[in-house]
């Protein structure tokens, strides 16, 4: 029996990365910045976006693509806060979103009338780190009900993120959470992280987040009132 060997040398993620490049190109052509929100389940991604849509919706035209393993509950919550289209991706068991899903979602979004795109990824601090969605930056959200050493336990996600939102700071009086240690753990993994300290419930710390988004979307501080 003769055996023939075919050289392949193909990266398994190459197809996804090609699609991510296509997504990045489409967004760049419309000068639309994009943020991929990643976190463990329950850190407050949807609440952060609800408040953001409420606060900035009349100044920044935001589109959101949500991903969940099951239900479109998050998309429904966000759709209640905006007249703009919220695209729901139900991954049907998959632990991450991929670039094809984002590309398909963008087909339904009027990019000419959009200033900023959010992807709310599946709540999972491991797998979404392996899939480039074509975003400009990942924002890792980390709540004070989680352990301070979470960045050390899940380093890839923190390494790949440019921004870190530490959320639920309204609970700090009731928890033994050491903020300095949490920030130090995150900086140990990624010294370049920019931090936001927020409570999406009370609004504390949200202004800095809003100013950041406004600047990103090209609206600028002056237009923020």
């Amino acid at each position: 029996m003769a055996v023939r060997r075919i050289d392949v040398r193909e990266k398994v993620m190459a197809r996804n990365n090609e699609l991510a490049a296509e997504v990045r190109g489409r967004l760049a052509a419309h000068r639309i910045p994009s943020l991929n929100l990643v976190s463990s389940p329950g850190s407050g991604k949807t609440s952060l976006l609800e408040q953001t849509l409420d606060a900035l919706g009349d100044r920044i035209r935001m589109a959101v693509v949500t991903g969940d393993v099951q239900t479109q509950n998050d998309a429904d919550r966000l759709a209640a806060r905006t007249d703009r289209l919220v695209q729901a991706v139900v991954t049907g068991g998959a632990c991450h979103m991929d670039a094809r899903q984002i590309s398909t979602a963008l087909d339904e979004i009027d990019l000419a009338e959009t200033d900023l795109v959010f992807v709310e990824n599946v709540g999972n601090l491991v797998c979404p780190a392996s899939w480039d969605l074509g975003e400009d930056a990942k924002v890792v959200i980390f709540s004070v009900t989680e352990g301070e050493d979470k960045p050390l336990k899940y380093p890839k996600m923190f390494e790949q993120s440019d921004y870190c939102v530490i959320n639920k700071i309204d609970l700090l009086p009731y928890l033994p959470f050491d903020m300095d240690r949490a920030v130090a753990c995150a900086r140990e993994v990624n010294p370049n992280l920019r931090f936001f300290h927020t409570s999406a419930l009370t609004g504390e710390g949200m202004e800095e987040w809003y100013e950041f988004l406004a600047t990103l979307a090209g609206i600028g501080q002056g237009a923020m009132g």
Partner: protein, 84 residues
């Protein structure tokens, strides 16, 4: 957690290089996996054994090489070429 979807992608890449009609003749699929690729390598191997050992494949087995770093790629496919 996503080893099965990666295993399906490896099968897709194999099919692209071999052809859909020739999958039963695949004997071995070489895969390089970095220890930081975000995968449980034993789980990936289990998934690949299940997929490559069933139709449309016939008797193929994965050959996984563990590397440093986060590399993840299909390196080669071996097929029975039909000649004696």
């Amino acid at each position: 957690m996503h080893e099965l979807s990666i295993a399906y992608d490896i099968c897709r890449i194999t099919e692209e290089h071999v052809g859909a009609g020739e999958l039963a003749s695949v004997l071995e699929v070489g895969v390089e996996v970095g220890v930081n690729a975000g995968l449980e390598i034993d789980s990936l191997e289990f998934c690949l054994e299940a997929l490559l050992g069933a139709p449309p494949f016939g008797q193929a087995v994965p050959k996984i090489e563990r590397l440093d770093g986060d590399e993840l790629r299909v390196t080669y496919v071996e097929v029975e070429d039909g000649s004696p």
